[in-house]
């Protein structure tokens, strides 16, 4: 399905929002304004947006430790995200979750997950709800190349196959799990492994938004119509460290420069839409600027926001001792 001009604008706005959001998080982290462990999604925008553009608020996604991009693509409010990442009152989880535990059930965002492989079993549950309750909703889980080996993920694949669940498994293969390459850690090939569970699995160029978008269109068609699970392995790259502050000693010489120059999904998108006359550079620049403004505003609100009240420590758990 060809995207309308409006839709295209929204796609690019979301992609540039993610990119700038992550760049800003790195800056704020370095400035000491963000505590903890933060994993950024920059470089992978075409995947998150290509996937989530097909989803409604009632569809559910399950994310990973690297969840900001999924959140934004799924429609989470970026100011509330920033508050959460800074551990402030009014954050999406009122500051109790943090970057690795952002959830927004109203947007069908079932949660980032700090346990590698934690999400796919849960997404089976969301898919089971959809199936049992007869909604036409679907569930989408995100996993990495590293996570593809975790037993929980493979168990989830099998159960989705057995119960024919409306669950689309996305594997973002950025070829790195912290500082370990998929060449080393994945015996065999992810899509092939997934297919062995009798789940249709396709590979796609994760730097090409349109390729991801098209693959997901087919996947959603399949899964929403009751034909069961589906999987997409997206070949992608990670622009920054595993976590903010990672020295990245595992990178080859010039590797990062090469990625920035030749494997930037935003540049690839821009080139494509301008060369095909779908959008102009001016339009794209304007969206960049709008996104930047929104992030600036969110960050300022975040910096100014109060910490959660100390009594919050004791709430949201059934009993205190």
């Amino acid at each position: 399905m060809a995207l309308s001009s409006e839709a295209l604008h929204k796609v690019y706005y979301t992609m540039t929002t993610i990119r700038q959001f992550e760049e800003r998080m790195i800056k704020e982290f370095m400035a000491g304004n963000i505590p903890g462990f933060v994993h950024t999604y920059d470089g992978q925008e075409a995947v998150g947006v290509g996937i989530c553009t097909h989803l409604t608020d009632e569809d559910i996604i399950g994310s990973t430790h690297r969840g900001h991009g999924h959140c934004i693509a799924k429609g989470c409010d970026i100011e509330a995200m920033i508050l959460e990442i800074m551990g402030k009152q009014g954050g999406l989880c009122n500051g109790k979750g943090g970057s690795m535990h952002i959830a927004d059930f109203d947007r069908g965002m079932l949660g980032a997950n700090a346990i590698v492989g934690g999400g796919p079993p849960l997404c089976n549950g969301a898919a089971l709800s959809a199936k049992t309750l007869g909604t036409k909703n679907i569930a989408v889980s995100f996993s990495g190349d590293g996570s593809s080996n975790q037993g929980t993920v493979m168990e989830a694949l099998n159960l989705a196959g057995v119960l024919d669940l409306p669950h689309i498994f996305i594997f973002e293969n950025n070829h790195l799990a912290e500082g370990t390459g998929d060449e080393y850690a994945v015996s065999g090939d992810i899509a092939n492994r997934v297919a062995s569970f009798d789940i249709p699995a396709v590979k796609v160029d994760g730097l090409d938004f349109f390729a991801v978008y098209d693959a997901m269109e087919k996947a959603v068609e399949h899964t929403r119509s009751g034909k069961g699970p589906y999987a997409i392995e997206a070949d992608v790259i990670r622009f920054d460290g595993h976590f903010i502050g990672d020295p990245q000693a595992y990178r080859g010489e010039g590797e990062l420069d090469d990625l920035r120059a030749n494997k930037d999904c935003l540049k690839i998108f821009r080139k494509r839409v301008t060369s095909e006359g779908l959008m102009t550079d001016d339009e794209l620049d304007m969206l960049d600027a709008q996104a930047g403004d929104a992030i600036e505003q969110g960050v300022q609100r975040g910096l100014a926001a109060p910490q959660p009240a100390v009594e919050e420590l004791y709430t949201d758990v059934h009993v205190s001792y």
Partner: protein, 344 residues
């Protein structure tokens, strides 16, 4: 419900009581589903479509009555079972997931303690995870080291979980109905040796609130706190001692998290003597936990050392003679009570 009223009710086994609770709740609320290995049984086979109803028969008849979309046999993948149940609970269903043996938490512990248990807190109160995890527990069936653990201390330690341990059929039914209606994850521990125990159980639905202990016996000479399958043993000891004029409170907390520490403290304030009976291994057990609560909050009432009667610090051995020595006995409980009474 008055005692006489209770006694008019039909006598049922704990297994039957649980089965009835599940039937009634599934009937009442179409969001309640059952999942696990062999909960119906026979999937993908040529024989009966309900070959087991759970290997201990607790879910018998549910598959036939409610169909395989609500009674879901699964592969042997406990992380996938608990994960699916928790994710379904987050999105509108109220799953009752079975671990055939509670020992299998080893292969799905993350989904229990890091996922289901933490969602509500970690997501700032927005998540609801109404899942019940049923598992059979305990020694006494010669099932060996990997099928005989209790593990309620491990689960009680985890914030965000509720932990239920019925000691009789009446409580089992009311607690199960409460568990299913609860919006937090509940681990429901069923002791294998209790399935065949019976008492009068009303046909109607009723709930038993969590965190309210039952006084199985009353007496002011000593307080015996016992859990699950240890309760009948504590009762037997109390009854024996009563004949000698020694009268004990026998407190059955029924849920270990939340724990009704108030009832325990009130009892100790009167008796001044505490005996904690727990089938689990001793270190960081519920016996230790109750003892610590009392040593902090009712210290001035204590008139004798607190006694913990537990299994030894060993895995469960297979040989019957060893397993029998492993399980806390009535004799050990009796001796502990007498010791707190200064050898009476």
């Amino acid at each position: 419900m008055s005692e006489s009223a209770v006694n008019e009710h039909p006598v049922k086994t704990l297994r039957e009581a649980l089965n009835e609770a599940l039937h009634q709740e599934m009937e009442r609320d179409s969001r309640v589903i059952i999942m696990g290995e062999e909960v119906a049984g026979g999937a993908g086979c040529k024989g009966s479509d309900e070959a087991y109803g759970g290997v201990f028969g607790v879910t018998k008849g549910l598959g036939t009555k409610f169909g395989r979309t609500r009674v879901i046999d699964t592969p042997i993948t406990e992380s996938a079972i608990i994960g699916a149940a928790a994710g379904a609970a987050n999105t509108g269903l109220r799953p009752v997931a079975e671990l055939m043996f509670i020992d299998f938490i080893g292969v799905c512990f993350d989904q229990i303690f890091n996922q289901a248990a933490k969602f509500r807190y970690m997501f700032g109160g927005k998540a609801r995870t109404p899942i019940v995890i049923r598992g059979t527990a305990g020694a006494g069936m010669r099932a060996g080291a990997q099928h005989s653990s209790m593990l309620h201390p491990v689960l009680t330690h985890i914030p965000g979980l509720k932990v239920v341990m019925p000691s009789n059929a009446y409580d089992a039914k009311g607690l199960m109905i409460s568990a299913i209606r609860d919006d937090d994850p509940v681990v429901f521990i069923e002791h294998k040796l209790l399935y065949e125990t019976k008492c009068p159980v009303p046909d109607e639905m009723y709930t038993i609130p969590f965190g309210e202990a039952a006084f199985a016996r009353e007496g002011s000479d000593a307080t015996i706190v016992a859990f699950g399958a240890m309760v009948p043993k504590a009762i037997a000891v109390a009854d024996k001692l009563a004949k000698e004029g020694i009268h004990c409170d026998v407190i059955d907390p029924r849920t270990t998290s939340p724990l009704d520490s108030e009832s325990i403290l009130e009892s100790v304030e009167v008796s001044g003597r505490l005996i904690c009976v727990d089938e689990a291994n001793p270190r960081c057990s519920l016996a230790a936990d109750v003892s610590a609560i009392v040593a902090e909050h009712a210290f001035s009432s204590l008139r004798a050392p607190v006694k913990c009667v537990t299994a030894p610090h060993t895995p469960v051995p297979f040989a019957p003679v060893l397993e029998d020595a492993y399980i806390p006995s009535e004799a050990a409980i009796e001796q502990a009570v007498r010791e707190t009474l200064g050898g009476r």
